[in-house]
Amino acid sequence: MSTTTTVHPVTFEIIRHRLNQVIEEAIAALENVSGSPVTNEGHDMMVSLYGPDGGLFVGGVGFLHHLTSAAQAVRHIIANFSDDPGIGPDDAYMLNDPYTAALHPPDVYIISPIHVEGRRVGFVANFVHVTDIGAIDPGGFSPNARDTFQEGFVTQGLKIVEGGKSRRDVIETFLRNVRDPQMTALDLKSQLAANHVAKESVRALYAEHGAATMEAVSRMLLEQAERLISERLSELPDGTWRARQYVDMPGGLYRVELAATKEDATLTYDFTGTDPQLDLGINCFYWATWGALFAPVFPLLAWDIPWNEGITRRFRLIAPEGTLVNSTRPAPVSIATTGIVQVVNNLSVLVLSKMLGATERYKERATAVWHGSHVSVNLNGLDAEGEFFVTNLTDSFAGAGGARATRDGVNIGGEIPNVVSRWANAETQEAHTPIMYLYRRPVIDSGGPGKYRGGVSHEYAFSPHGTGTGAISVVMRAKGLAVPMSLGLFGGLPGCTIGTTLHRGGLDASAVEVDQWGTFRIAERDAQVIRFMGGGGYGDPLERDPLLVQADVALRLVSRKAATEIYGVVLSGGAVDTEATVARRAEIRATRIGRPVPAELRKRRAIPSTGQRYGEYLQHVGHGPDGFVQCTWCGHRVAEGDDRWKDRVDVSQVPTSTAGRYRDCVPGMVLRQFCCPACATLLDTEVVLGQDPPLYDDIRRWRSER
């Protein structure tokens, strides 16, 4: 705590509570004025407060990658425009350039300085996904762009309000560049209203408590967050954790590599080895990657710590230039948010979960990947009245939870980077758009199998209905069709892949085409079908309680086939056949390692937690190289203390479809299983190209050893 000004802890708590209220009030103002479905139904927005230097001060909920990116936007404004044209009281700036700070062009930041008695005490910034930004494709995501000059209007900082007065010349110039100026103007108005509310509330706080107290509390909040995140990081082991995701794009398969190294109270994300940037808009600039890694850090590691710059100070990022995670201009970036941003989210979830799972205290917070890939579908065309419409379906906001260390993933349950997302009702969507849903239903076997199952995803089908011209256009930009991205944890298996198809002539027709990328026409007699990605599983599916499998089969969340083949649970009628299940599970174990497993090793034994955890099934007994790695299922000494355990266990490479239906991948991609040589328990899984080496994690020191 600060030594210069002391603030009563109660005063501190009063101000902290009020500051969170300021954000909530500003978000309410944003939603009130906006009224747009994407802001209100999908909660695709963010409002946060920033310090006088631009550092994140009070982070709100919404899409969390923006918390830090908007900080960078504020810093850019301070660094470049302080003198010319100046940052005066009641000014407001617009900034949406992805190569400066923003994530992609349609996510527009509006930044307002907050002055108290003429002195600048901080900023408020927010974003919404504006209706249109004037890119080659309507709506802001541009699969047809090959460089960023085709991705619409960008600015590195434009003063749109000066001294409380809107700059009409500037705003009209901007609106002239977009397809739907009226709706986009309303987006801007909502953003200005939100900043106004926040600004007035902060001023009231200064008036009530005085600048000295407010500044002391601000300092304390940052110090407290930094101290608490440092303490938490210190509780995690020191070491390096690796994760990789492959991204399937038209014309190729690309990789994003992450090695996360935690040393004392600092966590470094190193993306060295990631593939070069593409001429497709999934690329991220540096600040998008920075934001994307934090989106899971806040809810997974810092759920009970104020979300501010104190947290971000403890993190480092290495993102090689010219790669997917740090592209150079003019590589296109308009699909970053559903592209590499989401991949970085997934990787961040994986490394954080492995670190948390390597501690006794936080092991229950480990989670497999949630909702590994968005399919954001943009529709446009003429409605029955002959009016042009452009809209995003909200289905992708439904999500699917990753399995957790103590329970299943939440079925159709959302995503980590936006903790408050949801879809719009079919009736709401049909009321606004000339389409008719044919169904929206859970996808059987979509959740990654595991001791705890990943949440199932959903699938929809719709046909255009009541259009003006008999057909509409759909703008598509999907990944994850040929690679599962909701990866499992500690032996858990991946959730299903994305399926996106057009059925010419209706659902029953045989003419089916894949509509992954680009613009497609759909007639009223056609149907689009999209299967979303299920959540990843946690732990070995053979450890799953057979009664849970029985219940899943009864609800058609898991097929009988998967129950038998993956979970080793044999059902007779609707009920578990215990004897057959025991036999089937023994058979699966034997298949994994190519030899039978003795009966006494097939049941989990009570292995004392005398060592340090690697994860669900492994612990390090004894000290460093003198100790050994033990399987906590059967007690087997898997490896010596100075071995890489993955080199000492049974490894098999099996088709990815071993994890269930809807998991067919690009040629060469396999499910790699690491099994205990004694009991054949699934210690870890990787979804990799067969020739790629294993992902080695390296824990150097657990906390108790320091």
């Binding site: 309303l186 108005k189 949801r422 008719m436 169904y439 929206r440």
Partner: protein, 711 residues
């Protein structure tokens, strides 16, 4: 002499108000007695009967109307006593409840802090599991065109398999039934014909609103609650008649009106939160008497904090209401629940040394430490006790005891010592924190709805409210804080000020300008429905009135405003709408939209759409007359019970403060702050810079002194 009796069962107390022919009111109060609530009702009635110099039996024999609200629906859910119900849904949408609109079901109803921690969040278990939903191949489109009609054989098969699974109730929710109920009607007719013994709910009957998830959730709730609530109401009916009652039993609904017991049994979901809505309606009635058209209603008790408001004499409908994290959609007046109350627990965060109030609560049992029921964690009520506000003699009619020593010991150990402060210093700091948080919450629910608290009067009810809301009202800058005479029994008071109400609605999206003929056609059907009901209930000429309203929005926008077409309910038949009157309605929509969402928010360019049409029929019930007494002498010193040491918030110090006996206060009395006023049920604390006046209705009206002078 004949009476009207209102009985409201709340979580902690059962309240009773008796109105006699002359309009005089008598109050009664007792602890609620779950799971059989009748004992609590009897005690409350006994107290009122005693004050009237009669017996419960004689009182009930002479009672014409028995008006009732209760938390029976909520209790059924909390205790897991809901019935096994099955659902019939459009093929392809049978997982609508399971899906809960994605993460919405997982995060909604959580605090902001809980939302930030998705690892520890799950959806509540579905009211109707996926295995008890049956698909029907039928479809209607957004215009109401039947694309696929109902296949009776399929319905029969589906029903047979549900009945075979042992369901007691059936819910029916088909796509677009809010626009065209034809298919739902067909299905429900089959169900009722084949299985007259089942409790049946169709979505078009109970919640014909756009949005299949919320509609299906409403149907599921209603079906699950139906059997238990119907049983409770039937038992109540028998019980009260055995005691001699021969009049009509009416039940409060969350739409702000009463309904005959038979109809209430068919729509149990309407009883959810009807008690607090009754409290709000009671405040509105008091506001009418005092000519206040802008009211914030804040009911802060031991376990709940409810906030509602009346704006320009109107109460809005709630968007996205929820009960125990289950969504529903229903014409329900807007009363929101907030997570802070007398039982909120105070804890010091060991990592930072910062104190936190809530969100954990000691509940009604064991409750605060000072109640001496075994509570071990310090609560807000304990703070109030330590600051000298509570007085055992007045506390719940003198029936309960206060263990101050124990509260002191626990608070010192768990709060004061860790903070490094002395006891009173720590208690007063926590009092300020609580008031600041209450301020934040009230502000949130008012400012976010676009209203300026300075134009409002704050009605403060509930056991904890009087000790905090006067100070909070001062910070909010409201015109006045009113502690109604009926504050301690506000829900029951609301009952006796309410009328019988029937709401009929239908969803029929129409672009503006719409053909007046089409609009009149829609309204004629709805007016017919409610008029028939009122006629059947024998509301004659002059007692029955109807009013129309339309839910409107800007196209391409999600916000919906319920726009009154008729400013006041019309008793003498409604004039058909014309192009001109529809134009007026449009103007009213734009005005209300601006008021609520801000001057920048209107989006005329997109055009305007009418979505849902509503008719509200009112059957007038006789009311207490509530005559205002003459104001007498201002000097209230005669009512001072004692001088005691207590905390004066706006001077941040302990001082010697007069404690007044409310029962000795008379209209016209003026109580300058600082003061404590003990009523038989609750405590009111007046800060230094405020003054309380007793008005002609025995309400305490607390205002901030304009001169700021001390007296």
């Amino acid at each position: 002499m004949s009476y009207i009796v209102g009985v409201d069962i709340g979580g902690t107390c059962t309240d009773c108000v008796v109105v006699d022919d002359a309009g005089g009111m008598t109050l009664g109060k007792a602890f609620s007695t779950p799971p059989e609530f009748f004992e609590g009702i009897e005690h409350a009635l006994e107290m009122a009967a005693g004050r009237l110099g009669t017996t419960t039996g004689d009182l009930l024999t002479a009672t014409r109307l028995f008006l009732h609200s209760a938390t029976v629906a909520e209790n059924t859910l909390v205790n897991g006593d809901q019935a096994r119900a099955g659902l019939l849904a459009t093929d392809g949408f049978e997982s609508t409840l399971f899906a809960t609109r994605g993460g919405f079901g997982r995060w909604s109803g959580l605090t902001e802090e809980e939302k930030r921690n998705p690892i520890d969040t799950d959806k509540p278990s579905p009211l109707v599991p996926l295995g008890l939903v049956r698909p029907l191949r039928e479809r209607i489109d957004r215009r109401g065109t039947v694309l696929t009609p109902v296949d009776p054989d399929e319905v029969e098969t589906a029903l047979g398999s549900l009945v075979g699974s042992g369901v007691e109730a059936i819910g029916i929710c088909l796509l677009w039934s809010c626009v065209n109920p034809e298919n739902e009607r067909a299905v429900s007719a089959i169900v009722r014909r084949l299985h007259p013994e089942l409790f049946v709910t169709s979505s078009h009957e109970i919640a014909p609103m756009l949005g299949e998830y919320e509609r299906m959730s409403t149907v599921a709730l209603n079906a699950c609650l139906g059997p238990a609530v119907a049983r409770y109401l039937a038992k109540l009916d028998v019980w009260v008649r055995e005691l001699g009652f021969r009049g009509a039993l009416l039940v409060m609904q969350a739409h702000g009106g009463l309904t005959p017991v038979a109809e209430a049994a068919a729509r149990p979901i309407g009883m959810v939160e009807s008690g607090p809505v009754g409290g709000l309606m009671g405040c509105k009635r008091l506001g009418d008497l005092r000519k206040e058209r802008n009211i914030i209603f804040a009911d802060l008790g031991g376990t709940t904090f409810k906030v509602g408001m009346v704006r320009d004499g109107l109460v809005e409908y709630q968007r996205e209401p929820m009960v125990l994290r289950y969504h529903y959609t229903l014409p329900k007046l807007d009363v929101v629940s907030l997570g802070l109350a007398g039982g909120s627990i105070i804890a010091i965060d060991p990592r930072t040394g910062v104190p936190r109030l809530g969100p954990k609560s000691a509940g009604s049992y064991p409750g605060p430490v000072c109640y001496d029921h075994g509570g071990t964690e310090p609560t807000l009520t304990d703070v109030d006790a330590l600051l000298g506000y509570l007085e055992a003699r007045y506390f719940l009619g003198g029936d309960a005891s206060l263990n101050l020593a124990r509260a002191r010991e626990v608070f010192a150990r768990r709060v004061a010592e860790p903070l490094g402060m002395d006891l009173e210093e720590a208690a007063s700091a926590m009092y300020r924190l609580a008031n600041s948080m209450i301020y934040d919450l009230v502000r949130k629910t008012t400012v976010q709805r676009g209203l300026d608290p300075r134009r409002f009067v704050l009605f403060s009810t509930g056991g904890t409210a009087g000790m905090h809301l006067p100070a909070v009202g001062q910070a909010l800058g409201v015109e006045a804080v009113v502690v109604p005479h009926s504050a301690s029994v506000q829900g029951a008071f609301g009952l006796v000020t309410s009328d019988v109400v029937h709401e009929a609605l239908t969803t029929r999206p129409l672009r503006v300008p719409a053909d007046p003929g089409a609009v009149n056609g829609i309204f004629d059907g709805l007016v017919g429905t409610v008029t028939d009901l009122l006629t059947r209930e024998r509301f004659g000429r002059g007692q029955a009135a109807v009013a129309r309203a339309i839910d409107m929005r800007y196209r391409r926008q999600v916000h919906i405003i319920t726009v009154p077409v008729d400013q006041e309910p019309e008793a003498e038949g409604l004039a058909p709408l014309t192009a001109a009157s529809l134009e007026e309605t449009l103007e009213r929509f734009e005005t209300l939209y601006r008021q609520k969402y801000g001057p920048e928010s209107t989006f005329r360019e997109a055009g305007v759409e009418m979505v849902t049409f509503r008719v509200r029929g009112t059957g007038t019930v006789p009311k207490p007359s509530l005559p205002a007494a003459e104001l007498g002498d201002a000097d209230a010193r005669g009512a001072i019970q004692e001088m005691r040491r207590a905390y004066v918030a706006d001077e941040d110090r302990m001082d010697t403060v007069p404690g007044y006996d409310f029962t000795r206060l008379r209209p016209g009395h003026r109580i300058p702050g600082p003061a404590i006023i003990w009523t038989p049920i609750t405590t009111v604390v007046v800060p230094r810079r405020q003054v309380a006046l007793v008005d002609g209705h025995q309400n305490l009206v607390i205002r901030t002194r304009t001169d700021g002078a001390r007296e």
